[in-house]
């Protein structure tokens, strides 16, 4: 990967950006090492690498994509609550384009007409992907317009699509869960080529976004808008266009996440796809050290943040935490991680343990 370039550029930004997320991830994994037997077992099955660690990467791929888009939005000082709903929209659009026969009549009695041939699709794959991504980018653009031009507070503006989006997704598919049989599409989320296919997508997308933000001045513009929109305006940066861009990219990435998620389970589940994932994505960005008020961001740290979230979930399944304790424990982990690098807490500990100098960095 571009490990070298990444770490180099990140060192330029700030060392602590990466250190703490990696410590957090390491803590979760060390916990697994001690308490879950065989958590790190990796074996080859049917020529593919198979194990819990791979699961974390694979299941985490949707949250990683969301977190990447979310990082840009948060860096401008905003937030996008609608990404989960946009995922549902993109999943519904894609499924409908591949199998529009489901909608032949109003009531689902026509579910029988589902074409279950794995080689059948109504629209060709490239068209499905293109239209789906286009529509999700439009969703992002809509958020961007509301935030940048209508000057609605980001949380409120994106809340609109968060609520309406899932409804739109249900309207698109008429409330039916469309099953996806078209194998090439399913491969996107479900396929393996030594490693799970979604991982390759995530890597490519990450590299492209990194080049886009760090090899051009876009990233710098985004950060400056987040730090101080007014002064960046006076220095010639069009704050509105930058925000519009950030939200559009966020929508586009949410659309990609929706494609991965629906391909992974081979259904367009408008009710459940991406449900509450916007919160995971926001937490991932926060764990990655990007401040909610905006400003400096690190894409790689957000990826690590997303992996922390996913590793926590996967470890809980592996340990066998009782179902009704899962959410609470997830919350506890997040709060512990965030406390780990809250400035106040660090100062607090510094004060308490003043004789020991080693805590302070």
């Amino acid at each position: 990967m571009t490990q070298n370039k990444v770490s180099l550029s990140l060192r330029k930004i700030s060392d602590s950006k990466l250190v703490f997320p990696i410590i957090a991830l390491a803590l979760v994994l060390i916990f697994d090492l001690i308490f879950v037997r065989g958590f790190f077992n990796i074996e080859i099955r049917d020529g593919n690498i198979y194990g819990n660690l791979i699961d974390i990467l694979r299941s985490g791929s949707t949250v990683i994509l969301l977190a990447l888009g979310m990082t840009l939005v948060i860096a401008t000082g905003g937030v996008d609550l609608s990404v989960g709903a946009v995922m549902a929209i993109s999943a519904s659009v894609a499924a409908l384009m591949m199998n529009p026969y489901v909608m032949a009549k109003e009531l689902p009695e026509n579910l029988q007409k589902l074409v279950s041939d794995p080689n059948f699709t109504y629209a060709p794959l490239w068209a499905v992907l293109l239209v789906t991504l286009f529509i999700s980018a439009l969703c992002g653009l809509w958020n961007g317009l509301l935030v940048a031009y209508a000057k609605i507070q980001p949380m409120v503006a994106t809340l609109i699509l968060m609520i309406a989006g899932r409804g739109i997704a249900q309207l698109i598919t008429n409330g039916i869960r469309i099953q996806i049989f078209y194998e090439p599409y399913a491969f996107i989320g479900n396929g393996w080529a030594v490693l799970p296919f979604p991982l390759y997508i995530v890597v490519v997308v990450f590299v492209l976004l990194w080049i886009f933000t760090r090899k051009t001045s876009i990233g710098l513009f985004i950060e400056s808008v987040g730090v101080n929109a007014r002064s960046s305006f006076f220095s010639g940066i069009d704050e509105k266009k930058i925000k519009l861009l950030a939200y559009t990219i966020c929508g586009l990435f949410a659309g990609m996440a929706g494609i991965l998620a629906s391909a992974n389970i081979k259904t367009s589940d408008a009710n459940n796809i991406g449900a509450a994932l916007e919160l995971d994505a926001i937490l991932a960005v926060v764990i990655g050290g990007t401040l909610m008020v905006g400003g400096r961001f690190s894409l790689f740290a957000s990826v690590i943040g997303a992996l922390v979230m996913q590793a926590t979930t996967t470890s809980m399944y592996a340990i066998g935490v009782p179902a009704n304790a899962v959410l609470t424990i997830k919350g506890v982990v997040v709060i512990l991680v965030l406390l780990l690098y809250s400035e106040q807490v660090r100062n607090f500990f510094r004060r308490i343990t003043s004789p020991k100098k080693d805590v302070a960095t």
């Binding site: 099955r45 198979y50 699961d55 029988q112 249900q170 039916i176 099953q179 259904t267 459940n272 009704n324």
Partner: protein, 344 residues
Amino acid sequence: MKLNKLFKVFAVVIVLVMMLAACKPAATEAPAATEAPVATEAPVATEAAKVYTYADMTVGFIQTGSEGGWRAANTASFKETAETLGLTLKFYDAQNKLENQVSAFRNFIADPEVNVIVLAALETTGWDDVLKEAQAAGKVVVIEDRRIDASSDLYATYIGADFALEGQNAGIEMCKLLEGSESKNVVELVGNVGSSAAKDRGTGFRETMGQCGITVTQSQTANWSATEGKDVMAAFLKADPNIQGVFAQNDEMGLGAALAIKEAGLVPGVDIKIITVDGTAGAFKGMIAGDLNTVLECNPLLAPQVYEAALKALNGEKLPAWIPSQEGIFYQADAEAIFPSRTY
């Protein structure tokens, strides 16, 4: 005090008027509806002696609103069955609003044509007043799908699913599937924590699984969703691969689990048996593909049972407070043959 008394008198008058109103259409209907043989008895017969048929029945049905495939099938069932039985159906969609349901209920009480009111309640509580009004007006009330918290004297009967029975049947079916298997380790994919469907299906399963020595080795919520079903199953398989069966509390989670089993290089339906609950089209596709073994139905097609119960109640028969809905068990071998006749 005086006011109170006045009010009581007023109430009695209203009730009397209502009763008269309720009797009137029935009396005029009687000779009209029974033109031929019964006609000779009809003039002398009192109300109780009148035998209602489906043709005399006008049902006011208050649906919750639309929410997905299950509900759509439920509505369609009421409309289609009404047509085939030849009864009159007045359908009201409450758009998921409680106040709409209550006002529709009152409209149906006031409607002289309606003699049966069927309710799929949005809320469990707060129905006592309208139920009393309906009783005073002599309407038969049947509650379907969603149970309500009201004295069972106030309505004819409740018809809905028996989640515990679904769980028990799942246990029995799992026993059949694992017959001859040396170890019988089953993992469970639970629905939303705290929902009655999830709770009762889980307890039901545990009641019957002991008969053949099944143990639930791992159990985790997957929130009715396929994505989580897949993730949870993938983790189960790694934590302890010694798994012979999956009990998924709905179809989606079971289908997700099947995908995870495939990824582990095993064959769902063969190496690991899967039982799910609901009976949606997706589950049938899954059975035809061989991924799912047995599907327990959670039936939305309640109309035939509801209409039958309503007719009995109209004819003065006393019904049990709860009639569990008839639910089928579908097997992999029959899936292909049954599938075309499935409507949801």
